[in-house]
Symmetry: C2
Subunit: 403 residues, 2 copies
């Protein structure tokens, strides 16, 4: 059992978003008293503040009424829903998406990531992963016994690009890496990769025959004036590209567990085989809800982005009042990833104090890479007023625990 023990020790969930209630509290030496206020859970979005796409429950109900054909779809998802999705994703991405061969519906984008990594990583394979990036990326590679090769971005930078270290990426390919996995926009930092960076990634992948999996979960949530470059439109063997996307915090459909992967038919064939033994399919009735996605009422999405930007800007203003704190203005996505000043306690302890003393739940930076011991992640999809007050409390605690 030692192989399993080792495997599972690497994929701990104690600090994962939403799992805080299961933490063993133990003995804690608080500084000062509780700071009262409405609790805010920044580890994920608040679907009460930002409700699901209008009509989503109606589509679900219509799916239930359709009965068997909706309950038991092909493992890759119902064919009429895939047809609709392929047309929408072709329009969105600018690359032709095949409903029959090149698309799979999954239980959330987490499901898509798991199936994609399970279909491309064998033990001993070297996999390049950005740091910081979505916390599950590293755990997935480790679960399948791959070796993580970290690639840095300049996630605190102020320029109009991610600052991906292309030399490091090429060195990784030279050293045998055949898979590069990254999120664009970056989760947690909200950085969008520039057109030049996306072109460079495609060029290197093509040169070394490598596969690229890009997680575009937040690629619809672009702040004012920002543009986005889809990797799948680059000049590269389409069988070596897989794009993952799904309704995110922006669309608030998390409760239905829906995601999509499109691109390489070879990888998607394997993903379907794996899905057959993992969970058969994304919940049949839920799949029907995808009809509302990319078909939101006129102006609905824009309004939501404006509301997110207002929260983003207010939280940034408060955070930047803290001496020694650094944080990038996210260009996209619903996260902030501040680097806080040196504290007298560890980030794990501080995150616990935040929750227990101030009712503020955040995700420690170490989930996004082991050396982010001075950062935490905040999700912006919250009740605006409650979020502002919560961050004011967080700032007070930073001062209280400052080194």
């Amino acid at each position: 059992m030692s192989l399993l023990h080792d495997k599972f020790s690497k994929i701990g969930v104690d600090n994962a978003p939403g799992q805080e209630v299961r933490q063993h509290i133990g003995e804690i030496r608080f500084r000062g008293k509780e700071i009262p206020g409405k609790p805010v859970d920044f580890s994920h979005g608040d679907v009460n503040a930002f409700e699901p796409i209008p009509g989503s429950l109606d589509e679900f109900t219509a799916g239930v009424r359709r009965g068997g054909e909706q309950a038991y779809t092909e493992y890759r998802g119902g064919s009429s829903i895939r047809l609709d999705l392929a047309a929408k994703l072709t329009r969105f991405s600018g690359a032709a998406v095949s409903a029959d061969k090149g698309l799979i519906i999954t239980p959330g984008t987490q499901g898509a990531l798991f199936l994609a990594i399970g279909s491309t990583v064998a033990r001993g394979d070297k996999v390049a992963i950005v740091e910081p990036d979505y916390f599950a990326n590293r755990k997935l590679v480790q679960f399948f016994e791959g070796e993580v090769i970290p690639i840095q971005i300049d996630y605190l930078g102020t320029s109009e690009y991610a600052g991906l270290d292309l030399t490091q990426l090429e060195d990784a390919f030279k050293a045998g890496v055949r898979l590069f996995l990254f999120s664009n926009p970056n989760n947690p930092a909200g950085v969008i990769y520039s057109p030049a960076e996306i072109r460079a990634i495609a060029g290197l992948a093509q040169k070394y025959g490598a596969t690229v999996i890009v997680d575009q979960l937040y690629s619809r949530l672009l702040y004012e004036g920002k543009t986005y470059t889809h990797l799948c439109t680059m000049d590269i063997d389409p069988e070596n590209i897989l794009t993952i996307i799904g309704p995110s915090k922006l669309e608030s459909l998390s409760g239905y567990r829906l995601g999509v992967a499109f691109g390489s038919s070879k990888i998607i064939d394997r993903m379907e085989k794996l899905q057959a033994i993992v969970s058969l399919r994304a919940a049949g009735y839920s799949q029907a809800v995808l009809k509302t996605w990319f078909a939101e009422p006129a102006g609905w999405l824009d309004k939501r982005i404006v509301l997110h930007k207002a929260i983003r800007d207010d939280l940034l203003k408060i955070l930047r009042s803290v001496e020694g704190l650094a944080v990038r203005v996210p260009e996209a996505g619903s996260y902030l990833f501040p680097r806080i000043p040196a504290l007298a306690v560890t980030i794990q302890e501080f995150v616990k104090f935040l929750r227990l003393q101030a009712g503020v739940t955040v995700t420690p930076g170490t989930e996004f890479g082991s050396h982010f011991t001075d950062s935490f992640r905040l999700n912006l999809s919250q009740d605006h007023e409650a979020a502002v007050q919560a961050i004011e409390r967080a700032v007070k605690l930073i001062e209280r625990y400052r080194q």
Copy 2:
């Protein structure tokens, strides 16, 4: 990629239930013409003929209205739903189920099986598996690079027990097997293991310190007068037992994708860690539907079992008119697994002819063990009249392709 190629070649889905539409048809030499009739898909249940538990959609809708707390549950499932389930499963099984430590909600029982095998099987581990048994069991062990040790049951026998080969099972334990996985009632044959067999399995597992995973998906669908023995009530280290159950064809909740595993807290802890990277959680809103399970209206379940029995008996009568066909009377569950007489074509070909010439979809026996080349599986949860006519067509085709 050859390790992956090998892995994925073992988990093919071409003949998996529901995937028939993706088969490449190729050149086919039919005997005779099509036999017209209403198509019936016996590869799974017909939720139009047997509708979901009354009130299930209402509970889902109430879940959506509750919003965030229902959308983002702990990975192991919402705590109030686990509390409710633990009480119901304690009553049902007769063993104390802990809502906090000993229960996880999963995306279907398929999800539970995947998480359980991923949490207990490391590469090279020997795993004992019954033949015939649920087709994914073998594929799961192979995906995690375990070695399958087949254990026979007398699945065509007429006695009041499964005829599990206990000598073979003990030999397997002696040879180093530390995990035994089986479904009770058996899927596909509908056999219930006798009290003596369950006691013997528990005794052997305890003697060799082995873990037992029992898939009880159909344990509520017992035909008239049959009784059932829960492995989890036996005298054995409870940390070495995991029970999997979920709403099955009987309850028709497949479209919501729900399953449950209960028992060993050690295994469930790992399953939750794995769930965190596989799909985060069973769809949050769907979890709310579990409130209707084990809380069906009075008489609803009994009536449904009576209807299943009537279909079972009518199909058995027609099948038994075929010379050389053998089939057991299922004691439980919603499947029949007839062994048909020798044909002039392979079982894969015959299953294809059945679908294309007679509109009858079944699952070939080879999905349940490579040597079941003379069998197929039928799901009974169908429109009664259509099922009868479909099996009459199937019988005609058996005669047409007889050797």
